[in-house]
């Protein structure tokens, strides 16, 4: 079978390796906390998505903070877990629907 090879332009982002040991250490600590929060979130995801439609979530300290606004959820999470740098936000859409994520400028 003939194989067609297309010449593509390089990606528009600039890839850089992180070499600063201080940044790498901080990133490692943050990732450990992110891993814990992510595992907790995925373990509870089905119930969270069922109970928090239309809410803005912040997960920190393996705990859920839900609010009507992102800033409020983050503020409550940061107050409860000021040492957790691995917090993250997630919005639960009001309605369940199939999603096409493809985007174009």
């Amino acid at each position: 079978m003939e194989r067609f090879v297309v010449s593509l332009p390089p990606p528009s982002t600039i890839l850089e390796e992180v070499t600063d040991p201080v940044e790498l250490a901080a990133a490692g600590a943050q990732r450990e906390q992110f891993d814990r929060n992510w595992r907790w979130f995925q373990d509870h995801a089905a119930a969270i998505f069922r109970d928090y439609r239309g809410k803005h979530l912040c997960i920190a300290g393996e705990e859920l903070f839900a609010a009507d606004m992102t800033d409020e959820a983050v503020e409550r999470a940061r107050q409860a877990h000021p040492d957790d740098a691995g917090w993250f936000v997630w919005y639960v859409p009001l309605k369940k629907m199939p999603r096409i994520y493809a985007n174009r400028w």
Partner: protein, 143 residues
């Protein structure tokens, strides 16, 4: 270079390929964020809630087009940072779109402006999500 991801449960009960990373905030700190691995997306797009958490005063405006039409977005000059399998990190500097409405997209999207640096493996039966380049290679063989 190898970057591993997960298959993650989303709000509609669908499992999607996700790579977790960080986005650089306005104050130089980093915010943890999951990204959908989407080879159909021309560009990386940050979800509205991630944008809110970064503290940028957004400037440039863009429209993002998808199957359902267009949506408002802002453009940020920032970096995305991903974890390599050896524990080191790699960053991607660029201009990224960020959604202005939470309903426009619940998950940030890793598009081809970043994924184009890699060979992308999203193997749902095998439970593998992986970005590879450089000395990491893949082979396809009959079993």
């Amino acid at each position: 270079m190898r970057i591993d991801g997960d298959w993650a449960l989303c709000d509609d009960g669908v499992i999607r390929p996700v790579v977790r990373g960080e986005v650089e905030a306005a104050d130089g700190s980093w915010r943890a964020a999951p990204f959908l691995v989407d080879l159909g997306a021309d560009c990386t797009v940050l979800a509205h809630d991630v944008l809110r958490s970064l503290g940028f005063s957004t400037t440039g405006q863009q429209n993002l087009g998808g199957i359902g039409g267009t949506t408002d977005a802002r453009v940020l000059d920032t970096r995305v940072r991903l974890l390599r399998d050896d524990g080191s990190r790699v960053t991607f500097r660029g201009k990224y779109a960020a959604l202005m409405s939470p309903e426009a997209g619940d998950l940030s999207v890793l598009g081809r402006d970043i994924l184009g640096h890699f060979a992308v493996i999203a193997d749902q039966p095998g439970g593998v999500v992986c970005l590879i380049r450089g000395r990491h290679r893949y082979t396809i063989e009959p079993c």
